[in-house]
Symmetry: C2
């Protein structure tokens, strides 16, 4: 794969995430596909760590996703192995064997049972993944485990990503500092309908697995599930959260615990920041776009309309061309199949009203709108004036870069 230029929307610097008690990791170069870069991450969790996760709803999910789906109900985790370069998806019985073998190698290296090992693979779909490549690598990696720096695991899981994605939160609960660290990868094949691409979040918060799961599902909806790069849903979408429970506070055992709300908000912030990074590193992206829909008959209806706009190649190419082409926004509203009354529609770019009551707004200012479109972060709002439903979907523009990246990905 050719190296692609770093996204112009990449951050100027990366957060220096703190250690989290009970979490250690190391990365390695297994040479699965890439040369001269790390492509394997081994992460170890202290005994007592609980796990939660949401996984792709793809009907063709990868072998690693199937593995996680089987282990999640146990709610316990001791290890995580992630490789990049090969998704081990659509690899049949060989894929299942490869996953089993990898879990056995990792369980042995970490001294735990295989049902406490979580796995994720990302990269090319359909190529068999040779698990024997992991054997020596994981054993060696297990001898180098450390608690920082977090940029290393963020880098090891990248595929077409042009920059590593990290986010963390430190909050105070019962006067004690509790930490949440998260990493993510993803750049194309991003439309995580009900799930997400690869992201891993760890915390030292003592929390019951069911509560962590409930919070993860809830906040995933407005973060990873609210982004789209290209409307294509991955076979490997995986978001896992691990809580070591090492922070010296009483555990959260129920959603009724008022601290669940506080912890959940911090978790939400981390998920949201990671999700936005995925959009900002969307393949070929030059602009970040927030699509707001308000006044819909329901939140779900608003979401579907926002998604139709954010998925529309014509809307996205117009944005790439810095063209406030709200006619294409109307088109996308029309194709969403949700209740909409053309003659009540209003559309704003930023604070600029471009259309009102189903036609170009009086006093529409083409020059001001064009100037607005030159920005890197754009807000696009559609008001339907039918009800109280609202939703936001985050996306990027569609440029030549996307075509270049995806026209030669395998070669």
């Amino acid at each position: 794969m050719a190296a692609h230029p770093v996204s112009p929307l990449a951050p100027k610097s990366y957060p220096d995430l703190p250690e989290i008690d009970g979490v250690r990791f190391a990365t390695a170069e297994a040479g699965i596909k890439y040369k001269n870069r790390t492509d394997v991450l081994l992460m170890a969790f202290a005994e007592g760590t609980v796990a939660a996760g949401v996984l792709t709803r793809s009907k063709c999910s990868s072998a690693a996703v199937d593995w996680c789906r089987a282990n999640l109900p146990g709610g316990k985790a001791r290890g995580l192995v992630v490789n990049s370069g090969n998704a081990n998806a659509f690899t049949g019985i060989k894929g299942k064997e490869s996953v089993q073998q990898t879990a056995e190698i990792a369980a042995k290296a970490l001294g735990c049972s295989t049902d406490q090992i979580f796995l994720a693979s990302t990269g090319v779909i359909g190529e068999p993944l040779d698990a024997s490549k992991f054997a020596g690598v994981l054993d060696e990696t297990a001898t180098r485990m450390a608690a920082t720096p977090w940029i290393d695991p963020a880098k090891a899981i990248m595929t077409t990503d042009t920059y590593p994605k990290l986010s963390g939160a430190v909050l105070e609960i019962d006067g004690v500092e509790v930490k949440i660290n998260g990493i993510a990868k993803g750049s194309g094949m991003i439309a995580p309908d009900m799930a997400t691409m690869l992201s891993f979040v760890v915390t030292d918060m003592p929390i019951a697995a069911e509560v962590l799961q409930a919070l993860l599902v809830k906040h995933n909806q407005t973060s990873f599930n609210a982004i789209t790069v290209d409307s294509d849903t991955s076979t490997s979408d995986t978001l896992l959260a691990f809580a070591t429970g090492k922070a010296r506070v009483e555990p959260i055992l129920s959603l009724e615990d008022p601290r669940a709300e506080i912890f959940g908000q911090a978790l939400s912030d981390v998920l949201f920041e990671l999700a936005i990074h995925v959009v900002r590193d969307g393949e070929g992206a030059t602009k970040q776009v927030s699509v707001h829909v308000e006044g819909a008959v329901s939140d779900q209806s608003a979401f579907r309309i926002a998604k139709a706009i954010a998925d529309s190649p014509l809307v996205k190419t117009a944005i790439a061309g810095e063209d406030a082409n709200w006619g294409r926004v109307v088109m996308a509203v029309g194709k969403a199949g949700e209740p909409a009354d053309r003659d009540k529609l209003a559309i704003r770019f930023g604070d600029l009203v471009v259309a009102r009551n189903g036609e170009r707004a009086d006093g529409y200012d083409e020059a001001a709108t064009s100037a607005y479109m030159k920005g890197e972060e754009l807000e696009l709002t559609v008001s339907l004036d039918l009800g109280e439903g609202a939703a936001t979907v985050y996306t990027c523009d569609l440029t030549h870069g996307y075509i270049t990246i995806n026209g030669d990905y395998r070669s």
Copy 2:
């Protein structure tokens, strides 16, 4: 709008369609948006001509579509006015007035009532269309009506199309020659879910309006409704059929008439050829792709899966890169949300089996597959092995050309 290079998939020559008794037309340069090309078509039908049509299901349909929807139940047509360069969509009350005014001008020029005038507009969405531009133009155009050449109307309705689209059929019914001529435009914003872009078909067959309507709806399903360029559904999709009844045969008054089947098949051939032209002139297209899905639980399920594959930007960019990336086909099957068993899936490119039983096929030949991908017309088949459902969707690849065309369409 910049001129774009002619599609490499354009035909080497255009059919010289015959006169159809009862149909006359002329085109003109009204200067609505384009310079130095025709942008208005006026077509006149003999008294007794019946009309049928299918229109976009977009919730934000254009004023012209609304007009046709109101007139279609009457089943009678005397005139058709089409303009290119401005879609008169999302133009509010001004759009309705413009449509009314245009119909009045045309009705006066042709000596009929406005409810027998059909209208279609295509081009930019959201710009008010000044109907006064039509006044002198339509009167003058009406003085130059002729029965040929059909390439003139095909050219006048083009927008980003790089070549005019025509198709005709001549069939024998009761020993009499009956003719069907059709034209279409469309290149982007093509995903005519339940309807189509602009296409007009005329015939001299005597046929009841209800029968013509039933045949049109039926055959639209496997032609225009089975294509996608970019998954974006137009506000202006319109397919109209007009039958002058001038052929000297007994009219078809019911679908039970065995001649309805014969006539329907010829109509189907014309619609299908026009639809394929739209795909071959898809914005930026360099390859035509037929996506077949078989073994689905139902035809509808097969169609949804085929559509998900044909709409996938990752599948389409891979095809542009001549990469037999069947992993992306698996991804698209998985995201379709329809029943599919990963471990039963088989995928073929042409006759080359690339995947079987949910993994890469034994004896997969990368060299042969790569050679196949260099072709201009590709067949991609997914077998689900679940039932008898089958469907085909036609699409094109996604290239830099699409981005170039749509990044600067308005400017």
